[in-house]
Symmetry: D3
């Protein structure tokens, strides 16, 4: 169900154990060849496919396309909530659903830069409501729900998600080819950072002058369909588990 299309009265009648899915993405540079909305379009598509199969069993909030994207600000057009504003925004959104009585809240993320603040936000929210024992506050990033695409689809050259990369470009070729520019001439850019497995504070120019990270020239629409399909399956499986969860 799309929260946006329901009246308040209809939502009030839903069982409060219904999972609320809160999609998060970004509006940020995606290299020379992809539009700013890439993360938002892909996250929405994965969730659209999942929702088709879950029907009225989950309540889907509108996708919050404004993300934690300050690291891309050197690239024109990138929109971003500052780091603390983004934390506050996530906390507030979680809080309003708790106010309404919902107990299973799933941040359904489609932008790497949102991962850390979203973990921080569910941590903070759990602490504020520490007397409750019936809450399930989750962060799921759609490409990190269990499946390893490169094992399923050996033609994939990347082993993990990058940025404006083989994976994202493939999915965009499948979903909105009209918005994809010349990706075939782009050079691959390393996905690893020099000090891994240490975590590093970075901005995009530390890693890529052009904007993408990974290998967009390896993209195909067929790979894109495969990826969308895998991620949608994973999303369905995860949301089924959320529904099956019972508070201890």
């Amino acid at each position: 169900m799309q929260l946006a299309e329901l009246s308040s009265y209809a939502i009030a009648e839903l069982p409060k154990a219904t999972p609320v899915v809160i999609p998060l993405a970004a509006m940020e540079q995606h290299g020379r060849h992809l539009p700013l909305a890439t993360d938002s379009l892909l996250c929405a598509e994965v969730l659209r496919r999942a929702e088709e199969r879950l029907a009225d069993r989950v309540l889907v909030a509108p996708l919050q396309w404004l993300g934690n994207s300050d690291h891309h600000l050197e690239f024109c057009g990138t929109m971003s909530a500052g780091p603390r504003t983004y934390l506050d925004l996530l906390n507030d959104v979680l809080e309003t659903f708790l106010t309404h009585g919902f107990r299973r809240l799933v941040l359904f993320n489609g932008h790497g830069g949102n991962d850390v603040p979203a973990r921080q936000a569910i941590f903070e929210t759990r602490q504020r409501h520490r007397r409750r024992s019936d809450l399930l506050l989750l962060l799921t990033t759609y490409w990190a729900l269990g499946s390893k695409p490169q094992e399923i689809e050996p033609s994939l050259v990347q082993r993990q998600m990058g940025h404006a990369c083989e994976w994202e470009t493939s999915m965009m070729l499948r979903l909105r080819p009209d918005l994809v520019g010349d990706y075939q001439s782009l050079e691959p850019i390393s996905q690893t950072m020099p000090l891994e497995p240490a975590a590093q504070g970075w901005i995009t120019p530390d890693r890529s002058q052009v904007g993408h990270i990974g290998n967009p020239s390896a993209a195909t629409a067929v790979k894109g369909e495969k990826l969308l399909s895998i991620f949608a399956d994973d999303a369905v499986a995860m949301l089924e588990r959320v529904m099956a969860w019972r508070a201890p």
Copy 2:
């Protein structure tokens, strides 16, 4: 132009005097008969019509559907950024466009509750960049751009915008009749507050138990088309003036 569909490289090539239009709306209760997305759908439609006529002369950001809606939290499903979070969010968004070099930023608002914080945000932003003399930071609410609909269309029974009212219901009947519930049996609710012209801090239950404010039963799709048309004309005229503006 839709920012969301452009690449960062395409945006970087735009003239920096291009107005950036940042649509703001809400995801909040709209009575028994309208969906939570009402403000967002209507604001988007007004702007869609305006943009058609302005073509490549304005850059339109995605609509920020999360608004300043705490006053509706008694009604299930309402999503809201807390008052200070909303101020921060608007400041951050304005700031990122200033970072990118744009100079004419228009908050294009479609939710009454956003009016005060958006004024506060453009004030705060102007102060932070007080050494600049080439900035135009605006807040426009689409139904307050000059035209008085009730003078143009005497069949309108309301003299001003309400909430889930004759005007909004009419426009929804024109735009998304599939999302409009029974509005004909709803009682009118006064649009005035008891201490006007004093401003009053309020929550919706102070004014309406059912959720709407105004007279939804007077709505028709024909009135809706008229309203959308008036508001789109006003938006075009305002944006033309923004383009014609010259810094003193």
Copy 3:
């Protein structure tokens, strides 16, 4: 009653339905010819006249002369609370009166720059105390309480309040002529902003190099007396309505 002159024990004995009037003004540049305290002196005078007629039926707090005046900081001497500090200050003051049990709180404002943050503050305060149904939280700006002075007194050349303008200079000529400098040689400066009715984020140098906005050279003490009289009448009428208000 002046809160400042009462003991805590005397205030504790007042009926809690007594309106608390919290005067707000500013300490900011008023052009070449008027002192920084202009807004504070005029707001106090309007309220003094009103209070004389209301006697013990309202509790008047001391005037908070520190306002939201960052837009005047290019002009020497201007004192200002930063935008967020001013919001916090208003929230705290409202909160202390709620702590003491008073239920009808009136921000009585005499500075245009306070209007938006005061609206924000009463909104925020109402949200925090949303379980209450007996609160009346108001913002009134003394020249916007209903009367249109230029209709009552046709000799007025301005149609609305400006800054260090015909209206303010007239009232100062009536109240403190010793503090008024040469106003007769000052050029009129437009009161309208170029993009109205859009709201614009501004600093004073965007509108006036000299500091006043409007037409101070048209001022007379007779006009000033008329204005003070109109505004005091309006204030009395509004406060009578506050006393007559009954929670729904």
Copy 4:
């Protein structure tokens, strides 16, 4: 000079080495017998006497009567800025005078509860402007400027300032006897706290049920004149030293 009565243009012509005196006080309970404005009235009087002798050599801002008074909130009518708001307010006020180019800023305090936050504020402000070597940021509390009144006037029974005590009541008897209630029947209340010299976080009910701390029944107008005279002398001497100070 009273900043409030000057125009911005007059202030702009002052030498920037002129000390700016920023009086701070409170609007808080003062027991059964004194009005809420006691601290503000007394601080203003001490400074009025000092200013008479310093003439145009110091610039005196209006007295900020809203203080850090949360510890008195159990007593009706007490107005207070919350602890962090008060810090922000002081920082903002100091900042605006630095913006205007003044270099010698004196917080002239008349409320014990302002002492710690004012020290914190001048510390914070000095850190923000650490590249400057010409700033003098001071906090002075008027009864702690050097003289020991009980050594000068042996009839004083208190050895230090209390609250609504012998000293404050005496000065009020001298200044505004019309605002002083029955003080002669009040019992003395210890001025010491049990764990001194350790500092203790306290609220007034920890120390006094009635509201005063010290011995108001020992007050006389003659003592009051003596105290005001001593404190005004001290203030003059301190401000002379501020004027004589030379940056290292």
Copy 5:
């Protein structure tokens, strides 16, 4: 080198490319059998061993034992910085070393709950200093530097770090057996959370009533020595890489 034991003048003479190691841990409940300082003692020991081999090539700050431990507050004695305070604290500490000119800052972490906020802090710090291209801002958690202990030491029953678990208890048996209580009678508690790989906002009682997570009864001092040795080797290797890093 221990920063704590050096004078400011000695530190000023160090090459600014010297890595600064900032150890982070916690002071929080560790079940029935381990002291609150467990994370701090172990992190310090791993770093002590590493520092012995790195000698004067790294500058080691004192260990910040106050961590992000709100999730353990149900257990008496746990000390914690609130989530935002902890973020601020980390940002401030990073900022002071940047002020001093150091360019390679390593948060060396020994508490799982610090991982997310430390990632957030290095992200925020990198954004604030985005004009710099010579900064290396890292977070390393000592048990996640590359080696998989259970592959090296097959006698380990746990496959990853828990809390007051086989691994921590083993290291404490090696380091401070005098502080280890009865661990042999403790039941194992699952290390997995029900919705993995989704991240979940949790407090300790969601996972463990007794306080430990994992299998402390499998601990031995021999395993502890092996773990400390592995982690110290990893730390040395990582810090060597930090020294070898060259800005792009």
Copy 6:
């Protein structure tokens, strides 16, 4: 008792009237001759001696070596929490012990720069818990607990504590002579500030180019032992009074 070495279960069994001693110090420049940890080492030693005599009657938290030291940031290596972060940190630490049920909390301070923020923190904490009447929230600075060392030990040339001065250098000569550099050739630097008794916002370069304040060349280990002994006696006496305190 050292909180760090106890298990949560052991702490849970302590009487809640047990005083919790929270040592605060700093990690900041101490001139040419003393290490950054000076304040932390000395505060810890005073408390170690006191604790030996108080045994299980007080619960001692680990020493927070990160202090309010921004005024020393011109000197390399100084670590500091920003002014507001430090306030938050102290509030959070006090809050966690209140959460655990302890009622007598003593900030045991060994750094002058912590004095004002610690007073602010206990004030803020007392206000938040104003319904309680059984709380004792104290700040004690170890050299300001009553004794006047220069009266007891006439060979002391300083009359009060400075910074890296006769007193601190003497104590370090007694405690860690290996960490003391050449102090005998250092010139004395005045301990008074020019505008005393007014409080002044300062940074170290306002007072000392080299870093110390006072007369380190007068230091001896014998004086150091005397000082440590006096301060430990004072600490014991104060903590005995804390234990003897009864809520009114």
